[in-house]
C-alpha cells in the first residue's frame, strides 16, 4: 500500500508581520515550516503506516529550501521524499504546480491514496487536492476529518458536510483532503531528526516530468498586494426594542441596504 502526501512549505504565519500604515507585509523573518494542514495530512498517512504498513511518500514543489520540509516529514516517519524543483517549476501557478505533482505521482507508479491538506495557510485556496484528482482522473473527498477504514480497494472516511458530518465510502485510488485540525500531528523523533540529512533526495526537474515551459505558463497574473480597507468602528445604540428597531431600519435605509 502506497500513500502519497503532497506538502507545501510556507512562512510560519505566526512570524509574519503586517504594517497596515505602511502597507507592508514582512515575510522574510518568519520561519519556513510545513503548512499546518499538510502536517495533519501527513499524520493521517503515518497512522495508515502504523496500522497497515503503508509506505508513505512525501512530495513537494519549490526552491531548494523546500528540501528541509521534506526531510522534516521524513523525520516524522515518512519513508521517502521527492522534491520537484527547477526554474520552470518555480514560476508555476496553482494549475502548473498541480500538473507537475500529478505527473510526478504518475512517474512514481502505483499508489492507493493521496492524502493532502485541504488548504495552505498562506494562500487559502484549497485547489491542490481537487486539481490532482482531476488531473489523475480519480475521486476526491474534501474536508476529511477521519479515515475510518482502508480495505478491499475502498476507503471509508468522515467528512464535514454543511454543519454536520457525513460518512463516505470512496474507491481507491483517491485523493483525501484533510481538514485543518483533524488530528494532532506527531512530532519528529530526535534521533530521526539527527539522521534526516543522511539520505539522498531525488530532485526532479520539469523535463523529468515531460513538462515544457508552455505547459507551466501561469494562467494567473499577480498584480500586487494591498491591505483590506480599515474597518469603521461600530456604533452601539441603547433604548427600547421599538426604538432600536426603528433606528436600525432607518440606518439601513440611509445606506440603501434595504
Amino acid at each position: 500500500m502506497r500513500v502519497i502526501v503532497p506538502i507545501k512549505q510556507i512562512r510560519d504565519p505566526r512570524g509574519v508581520k503586517a504594517d497596515p500604515r505602511r502597507q507592508q507585509v514582512t515575510l522574510e523573518e518568519a520561519e519556513l515550516v510545513i503548512n499546518p494542514t499538510d502536517r495533519n495530512a501527513l499524520e493521517e498517512a503515518l497512522v495508515l503506516k502504523d496500522k497497515l504498513g503503508a509506505k508513505v511518500t512525501v512530495i513537494s514543489i519549490g526552491g531548494p529550501e523546500v528540501e528541509d520540509s521534506i526531510r522534516e516529514a521524513w523525520a516524522c516517519g515518512a519513508d521517502e521524499g521527492i522534491l520537484l524543483s527547477d526554474e520552470l517549476l518555480a514560476k508555476a501557478d496553482f494549475r502548473g504546480a498541480a500538473l507537475a505533482l500529478a505527473k510526478a505521482i504518475q512517474k512514481l507508479g502505483d499508489f492507493d491514496l493521496i492524502i493532502a491538506g485541504a488548504m495552505a495557510a498562506d494562500t487559502c485556496q484549497g485547489q491542490l487536492g481537487p486539481r490532482l484528482a482531476a488531473a489523475l482522473d480519480i475521486p476526491c473527498v474534501n474536508d476529511v476529518y477521519r479515515i475510518l477504514e482502508v480495505s478491499g480497494g475502498k476507503a471509508r472516511v468522515i467528512r464535514g458536510w454543511d454543519e454536520k458530518f457525513l460518512e463516505v465510502e470512496v474507491e481507491l485510488p483517491a485523493v483525501l483532503c484533510i481538514a485543518p485540525g483533524a488530528n494532532v500531528p506527531r512530532l519528529p523523533h530526535g534521533a530521526r531528526i539527527m539522521n534526516s540529512y543522511q539520505w539522498e533526495m531525488p530532485v526532479w526537474k520539469a523535463s523529468d516530468l515531460g513538462l515544457s515551459e508552455e505547459d507551466l505558463r501561469p494562467g494567473v497574473e499577480e498584480r500586487g498586494l494591498s491591505f483590506p480597507p480599515e474597518r469603521v468602528r461600530g456604533r452601539v445604540s441603547r433604548g427600547s426594542p421599538e426604538d432600536l428597531a426603528r433606528e436600525l431600519v432607518s440606518f439601513l435605509r440611509e445606506r440603501h441596504l434595504i
Partner: protein, 388 residues
Amino acid sequence: MDFSFSKEHQMLRRMAREFAEREVLPIAKAIDEEHRVPMDVVKKAAELGLLGVPFPQKYGGMGAGEIGYCIVAEELGKVSSSFATIIGAHIGIGAMAIYLGGNEEQKKKYLTPLARGEKIAAFALTEAGAGSDAAAIKTRAVRDGNYFILNGTKQFITNGDIADIITVMAVTDPSLGPRGGITAFIVEREYPGVRIGKLEDKMGIRGSSTAEIILEDVRVPKENILGPFGAGFIVFMQSLDMGRLTLGAACLGGAQTALRMAMEWAAMREQFGEPIAHKQSIQWMIAELATEIEALRSLVYRTAWLVDTRQPFTRYAAMCKMYGSEVASKAVNIALQIYGAMGYSRDFVVELMYRDAKIAEIYEGTNEIQRIVIAENLFRDFGVRIRP
C-alpha cells in the same frame, strides 16, 4: 566564523519548542500548585528522544551533542524551570556520569535505558554536611568480597524519588581525602536498603522532586563502580561541568520568556495616558536585559561548541551557570517590577517564574563556588593555585 545552527539542530529546536508549548506549558502552573512531577509528560518527552539528547545513538540517545542538548534545555527553560530541572538532573548529571565515567558494559546496561527514557536517573552527591564542600561527604562504601556495602544519607537529590538509577558518591578510603578516597557507584533503586526519605517542600521548581536518599547496608556489585576506583571526584566534577553548561541554557530560555512577558506588558499597560513602554525607566531595563540575554546566548552556545569539538571548557561552563542564573534572576525581577502589583499576584505566572529562578543561583554548585572555579581556572595560567 559561523554562528548558524545546523539544519538538524534547527529542526530539533522546532520540535523541542513545539513539545514545550504543546505538552509542558499547559501544565506548568498546575504542577507548581499541586507540587507534582508530571511523569506522563516526562514519558512523552522520552518518546521523542528528549531524555537522551546528547548521548550517541548506539546507546539509545539522540546523538545531538551538547549543542542539541542546550537547544532542548533552552526551549524547556522557556516554559517551565521545573520540567527543565527534571530533564537536566536526568541527562545532565545523572546519566551523564555514566556516559563520561562508565565502561562499555555499564553504558549498555544503564545508559541505554536512561537515554531512551525507560528509566530515570539521579545524581547523589550532596549530604547534610557536604554541599559546596562536596569532598566532605560521609557516605561510606566498604568492600565485602565482590560487593561494596554503602551506608549514608544523601540530601536535596533532584529526581530522588522518581529515579530508577542513581549515581552515588561514597568514601572508599577516608585516609586519601577527595582525590583517591571517593568512588562513584551506580546504584539501582531496587537494591535492598535504598530508601527515599524526606521530600523537600520547596519555594520554587515545585514541579520537580527533591528528595533525601537513605542508603542502609546497600550491597552494590563491584561491577557498578563508575570510573576508576577512587576517582569519584573526577567523575562528579566532569559531570557537574556538563550540568552547569545546560543549566545556563535553561536559564537563557527562562530569561527570554521573562523579557518577552515584560515587553508585552509594558506595551499594553497604560499609565498617564500612554503605554509604560514609552517611559525611559522601562526602556533602559529592557535594553540592558536584552543585551545581557544576547551575551548569555553567545556564551552558552560557544561553550557547547567547545564541548562538541572536545576542547577544554570547565571555566566557561562555570560562567554559563553563574552568569545564566544571574541573568535569569534579573530578568524575572525586572518582569515582576514592570508587571507591578499584578506580577505579585498568583493569577499571573510571573510570581512562579520569580520563585523558580532563585534556585539556579544555588544548585549544581552555588554561584560563589562557580566564581572560585572560574578564578582558579584563570589564575592557573599565572601559576597561582586557588582552593576553596
